[in-house]
Amino acid sequence: MTMMTDVVVGDVRKARRIDWSPYLVGAGIGILSWVAFAGFGDPLGVTTAFSRVASLFAVPVIGSDAVATNSYWKSMPLKWDYGVWFLVGIPLGAFLSAIISGTWRLELVPEVWKERFGPSVFKRFVAAFLGGIVIMYGARLAGGCTSGHGISGGLQLALSSWLFLAVMFATGLLVSRLMFRKA
């Protein structure tokens, strides 16, 4: 009887976190890449489609004429193509996993941030917003992100993508060291 209860409690607790091996997940993403290349001719990527969608948000800010005549958006206009639907799929899949595994939870300030910078939601939101600006500007300048350059470009042994990986990790290590240095 006691053992039965233990098993049930154990299972419930286990369901609250995910036990998938990161190697299994990585192999899954690798195999997904095979399908993306051979089945769709469109490697995994996020930020190209993200910029197309961003043009929608730019309309109320800089006006529809300015968006229409912008040379960057002329080269990649808003269209509901493969990349944009792929983008829509990402939160759907993550949501499904979070619900099934019981890992969905509201997070305003993550633990690592709280330990270093305290519980202020405002402070965290400002940092996330500024970080978001910098990361997307960098991604567009480099021509891709962790997915498009890091994984899709890395697996093609592209020179551009390995340069991206090296510089991105080196800078990240340096900034992280500065940011999390004990004051």
Binding site: I18, P22, Y23, V25, G26, A27, I29, G30, S33, W34, A36, G39, G41, L44, V46, S51, A54, S55, N70, Y82, F86, V88, G89, I90, P91, G93, A94, F95, A98, L106, E107, L108, P110, R124, A128, G131, G132, I133, V134, I135, M136, Y137, G138, R140, L141, A142, T146, S152, G153, G154, L155, L157, A158, L159, S160, L163, V167, T171, V175, F180
Partner: protein, 186 residues
Amino acid sequence: MTSVMSIAGPLLMGAVFGYLLQQGKVTSCNVIENQFRLRDFTVLKVMGTAIVVGGIGVLLLVDTGNTKYYVKDANMVAVALGAALFGVGMVVYGYCPGTALGAIASGSVHAAVGAFGMIVGAILYALSFDWVKAHILNVWALGKVRLPDITGVPDGIWFAALAIGAGAFFLWVESSEAKARRTRAG
């Protein structure tokens, strides 16, 4: 039928990708920050395995004529500058663009706030594009080159080296992590 597949196909691909990111815990800001602090190697484990497994498969698919390469331009200065900004942004934000989209769907409000920042970043890039194109993108631009092209070392050797290097590195990481767990437990 074709039009249904042209939506359902990428939607399903994205959903599988998002599902895997969440299952792999890389939609967690803590996991990403701790990778850069060298306290948690989940991000490198996922990316390294994806590159080796994906790369060997794609190499075979290219060799058998089932796909081609989609290599991004090696605009060396732009890529280096962009990657440096990306590294800064990733540590401050705590996510990369893809994992952020997954994190928003699993309840991270600050990831959603950062996504508005990403929209601003994309708009700023579009507004500065003419200048960037004229002054940065064209500097030291080597085109769509691959490491085997510029080194003369064939693909097979690259992947053998990558697989062995990643394997050895991950074995070392796993044994250090096991040691740390034993120390904590005992």
